[in-house]
Symmetry: C2
Subunit: 420 residues, 2 copies
Amino acid sequence: MAVIASTVPEACSRAKRASRELVRAPTAAKDAALRGVAELLRERRDEVLEANAADVEAGREAGLEESLVDRLTLDPARVEAMAAGVLEIVALEDPVGEVIERRTLRSGIELTKLRVPLGVIAIVYEARPNVTVDAAALCLKSGNAAVLRGSSTAERSNAALAAIVAEAAAEAGLPEGTVELVSGGGRQELAELATQEETVDLLIPRGGEGLKAALKAVATVPVIYAAAGNCHVYVHGDADPEMARRIAVNAKVQRPGVCNAAETLLLAAAAAEVLPPIAAELRSAGVELVGDERAREAAPDAEIAPACDEDWDTEYLGLRMAVGVVDSLDEAIEHVNAHGTGHSEAIVTSSEAAADRFAAGVDAACVYVNASTRFTDGFEFGMGAEIGNSTQKLHARGPVGLRELTTTKYVGRGTGQVRE
Amino acid sequence: MAVIASTVPEACSRAKRASRELVRAPTAAKDAALRGVAELLRERRDEVLEANAADVEAGREAGLEESLVDRLTLDPARVEAMAAGVLEIVALEDPVGEVIERRTLRSGIELTKLRVPLGVIAIVYEARPNVTVDAAALCLKSGNAAVLRGSSTAERSNAALAAIVAEAAAEAGLPEGTVELVSGGGRQELAELATQEETVDLLIPRGGEGLKAALKAVATVPVIYAAAGNCHVYVHGDADPEMARRIAVNAKVQRPGVCNAAETLLLAAAAAEVLPPIAAELRSAGVELVGDERAREAAPDAEIAPACDEDWDTEYLGLRMAVGVVDSLDEAIEHVNAHGTGHSEAIVTSSEAAADRFAAGVDAACVYVNASTRFTDGFEFGMGAEIGNSTQKLHARGPVGLRELTTTKYVGRGTGQVRE
């Protein structure tokens, strides 16, 4: 069974119709569909790899950058990782039907607040074809129909993968339209998808700042923007120097290209003497350092270049870090709130009072005391797979997992009550 | 102490600075401020009424419609109702600091998910000056700074009321900027407020469809749109006729101008014989009826006029109701999902299976079984005061009370953990 090629409104309408049935789909049917996806991925691995090879070849011919070719390329291990990822989602608890609150109103009505699917979720993503499977699986388990819009460079790979999901869904008795794939298209098609207010309940972009900006300009459907992370590590005056070094280095170096990596190291003036060993280790890990006057003075051997204003607001996503010295905890909190993106922020301190004040005062999705910013992650948080990280304050803040792909509904059961 | 008149960006910046302190404000300080508001409202009742009389006079001179003059006009009872309303908010539980989840991660980090204030909430409202106090009180109790933008027709009343809130807040030790009032201004000022992305965390419009449309066109800050309600009562084939009559009449007639009043009555073909007595009572309550062919045949004496397509999609907010007959429960669910606005929907039935299917299949914030749609309300739901009703699916769905004016924050406490 192939996914039917169709216009954006047609695909969204089919997904909407499917979503009306999916709200009632039993967990067993959804899990059977997911197990089917994993099986078919393994059975049809060679077909998938063939489709992918054609995409890669076409991409190379069209002069696609090597880093994008790498993201696009599948191999047996990557296909197996997709199958394993889907089976992990089977093991997660179904959020649909969870009773959030239950009470008897003064009218005698029994009121229940339940978790229910959102309806139709559109996912817009760039080169990586594995998102086709990951996103569809998360939507399916949470009872949502998915409209997937990958990039045109991954067209054949995405079609092969979406066909597998659609076939497994159909075999498990789930409705046509459970998974819809719309072709890559251009900005116009993106705008069309982002304005299907009658049918699309949520749109999640997974891509760079260009994609986000394009959506911000046109979207009328609700969007959860995956987060940019300008994250900080603040070393308080009484921090354990060894812990400060370990956390600062880990937050910057362990995987510098991701949104929960740290971009700025702040030190209390009283902790400035811990900078030289930290700076030395950062430099030996290949990190280029820029800093304010006091940071440069505190570690004269570390070759810290002068920071410009922009440095404090930049998500480097690479081996570069800004270092600043502040006079007080409040100044640190102010700096983080002024320059951070509200993603993940850390303090290293042995003072409980300082920890509490930092945790309360910093306005971010995740605040860490004596731990690396790198822990912001659905798996690390015990939520299982995530579809992104939100720095928005409404609906979902932090990792976006199965629960965050649901909404709620009040059901009131009465015996004929009317309002007086 | 008066509220300082200032530009929109200035007012929002002051509110943002205040919000950084308000996140840490103890419940006792917030409650003291609210009690102060109630006291000052009583002490300065005459000043408030004088300011209001000047607004009313200016409105009359400018030819303001009589219904708007009525909304604008305060009297001693209305001022007392405001004070009493504020004291009810004192009695509500402070949502800030509530622990939503707590767990130990595999890394050993103790992770807590806490409820925290959103930050700055902008409220845009029309003639009623009581919203100045109600909205400010809800924002204050939930730890948010409020930027209020009332209509220019209520300028003097709003200034007097906002000055009372600001003075009480200052006396309780809360920061300047806790409550900011920006003058009515025009559409340009509205657009300015709706695009303060750096400072405004949420905008809530309380007004008609014109205001919503104006905001939809320009807003870049997050908005919760108060709901339009095209609500239905569906009478299933096995409904108790007397209960069906009581609920249908109550849902339509008890207060027809509000969003949870019913606009359409749907009957199963098997329940068509209950229509004549219901229609008779609706008509004697002054309700004009329109209906489809089968409804008109089922109650030939009720003078049901033919309904046009538009009737099924109209929120009358008055004494008019559309009546339709459907062949099945699924057809009823489809009709509600196609024409409803996802606000409040009711089924009257003695079948538990039908009730369950309707509750699961109807895509709405609130679904009632054997009860009137009129119960969708913060007070009736035991949440206390509400700032509106959301039919959006993200963040808040249903009554928007104190909890819905908060967001969440993860705080992870470690002992030096780094990511491997």
